[in-house]
């Protein structure tokens, strides 16, 4: 069972037969992260999410879709394993939410630049090109680079 390196995931697991109840600190994990982590587990688990009365926790109920072995599927997934997967997925999902929040603007800019006309959205080069002779000889300006640029 892989728990995150820091014990910053205050959740309680009440595992019953095929069912689990988790409390997830809503100050540490966002709603988005919880829902995304649950999305991937929906292959094997039914889930229900609500907010606790004191608004401090998400209450997540999990139930195995297939609690007992059947002829078609003799080895159903183990609840403990899935809960551990969920814990890891939760941390990763929260990181993803963070990354997307921080980078959404830049991403839009990159895509806008990618599909704009050539030159329209391009960055200008950093300002100086430091020709020491140019700096001290104003006469140079008429025949050098600036003549082309103007």
């Amino acid at each position: 069972m892989a728990l995150p390196s820091e014990a910053r995931e205050p959740l309680s697991v009440d595992a019953e037969k095929g069912e689990a109840l988790l409390k997830i600190d809503s100050r540490v994990f966002s709603r988005d992260a919880v829902l995304r982590a649950l999305y991937w587990l929906s292959r094997d688990l039914y889930s229900a999410v609500s907010l606790s009365d004191d608004q401090q926790h998400f209450v997540v109920r999990l139930r195995l879709k297939q609690p007992a072995p059947t002829l078609e599927n003799p080895k159903p997934p183990d609840l403990q394993t899935l809960v551990a997967e969920f814990q890891t997925a939760l941390v990763d999902s929260e990181l993803r939410v963070q990354i997307q929040k921080e980078t959404a603007g830049v991403r839009e800019l990159i895509l806008a630049k990618a599909f704009s006309e050539a030159g329209v959205l391009e960055d200008a080069p950093p300002e100086t090109y430091e020709d020491p002779v140019l700096a001290s000889h104003p006469r140079e300006r008429t025949t050098s680079l600036l003549k082309i640029l103007s």
Partner: protein, 381 residues
């Protein structure tokens, strides 16, 4: 090999560029020629573009440009082209038809200051004079050479004059392939790159150095903040205009550690480059001053070099290794080693006597006598 000498100028009002003639020629042939001789007595000097002599002609008066008391002239062969400088009396060989390594020297100025620069920059206003000299040289090149290299300093600092030079090459020497060495930084300005591309030279490539996948490391090596950013932008502007580009990497202690990462960086970000040249260090110019930061025995970076070449070749990028001796190169890299050192600075060492691979090996820079790998040895086949 001697490429510069000096004498005392007489009636040399402006710089003169002309073709060496070691014997007098008919009057109709003198207009482009510089008569080079120890003895002027009795020679009709009318119509020559200039005269070079070792003799002392202080008492004489001339109506053609003369440089006398020249220190040496025996290195000046027929067909060579020389430039005579009026105030200093310098006599520079600017073209040798028997060489593959002729250059057009654009300027001594540079906007970078690389720790290992083999031609340290001078902040001298030389652009007009050198451009005039180069344009005259181009006029004199017949038959056209296969290859010319524009170098400096930083040629792009010439601005419009560089474009004039390239246009002259295009018009007068269309069959000559031209390679230009540049740090590429000014090509970050799109208008400049466009103007450059629109000159439309038919066979032009640019060699641009890149020393790291990290801006901080590259900028440190070239001693200019913002250089990496400008170079990358410049490379992309050049690619937009379909220019032929070679990336050059000088291998030393500051560039070999992340060589594999640089190789990968070039592939993903500069996929369009035609060639990558991995080059041995020249221990001349600034290098001796910065030796403690730069020196690493080439034998000691063979693993990194192998890695980088494997990365680039897997991806189908063209790679060559320049300025390395075969005895220090990993044997599997021999196929990439080229004989790259210009003839005028190319030597072999005593250790090379009896080496079975000598004919295939590029040898050394002439300053390598002072410093070279501790592992040079003759290979017995």
């Amino acid at each position: 090999m001697r490429l510069v000498t000096a004498g005392v100028p007489i009636s040399l009002g402006r710089a003169v560029v002309g073709i060496v003639s070691t014997h007098p020629v008919a009057a109709t042939e003198r207009g482009k020629r510089i008569l080079v001789t120890h003895n002027l007595d009795g020679t009709d000097l009318t119509g020559y573009r200039g005269i070079l002599t070792t003799a002392d002609k202080s008492a004489a008066r001339f109506h053609v440009p003369v440089v006398h008391k020249v220190r040496e002239i025996d290195h000046l062969l027929d067909g060579y082209i020389v430039a005579l400088e009026p105030t200093t009396g310098f006599v520079r060989t600017v073209y040798r038809p028997d060489s593959e390594h002729n250059i057009l020297f654009a300027t001594e100025r540079c906007n970078s200051n690389c720790l290992m620069c083999s031609q340290p920059p001078q902040d001298r206003d030389d652009a007009d004079g050198l451009t005039a000299r180069n344009l005259e040289l181009i006029e004199l090149l017949d038959p056209p050479p296969n290859y010319l290299c524009i170098t400096g300093g930083e040629p792009t600092l010439l601005g419009q004059r560089l474009l004039t030079l390239i246009a002259a090459l295009r018009d007068k020497l269309p069959s000559t392939t031209v390679h230009m060495l540049s740090n590429g930084r000014l090509f970050a300005w799109p208008e400049f790159t466009q103007a450059f591309a629109e000159v439309g030279h038919p066979s032009f490539s640019i060699g641009i150095p890149l020393y790291s996948d990290l801006a901080t490391a590259h900028d440190y090596v070239v001693q200019a903040r913002g250089a990496f950013d400008q170079t990358i932008m410049g490379l992309h502007q050049l690619a937009r205009w379909g220019q032929r580009i070679e990336i050059r990497v000088v291998l030393h202690a500051l560039t070999t550690r992340r060589l594999a990462q640089l190789a990968e960086f070039i592939y993903r970000n500069l996929t369009f480059v035609d060639h990558i040249a991995l080059m041995g260090l020249e221990t001349i110019g600034y290098t001796p001053r910065n030796l403690d930061r730069l020196w690493i025995d080439p034998k000691d970076y063979q693993a990194e070099l192998l890695d980088a070449v494997e990365i680039l070749r897997l991806r189908g990028m063209n790679v060559s290794i320049y300025n390395h001796q075969l005895c220090v190169l990993d044997r599997s890299l021999w196929k990439f080693a080229k004989k790259s050192i210009s003839d005028w600075k190319n030597i072999y060492l005593d250790e090379c006597n009896g080496c079975g691979m000598r004919d295939h090996c590029g040898g050394f820079f002439q300053w390598a006598t002072k410093l070279h790998s501790a592992h040079i040895h003759a290979i017995h086949c």
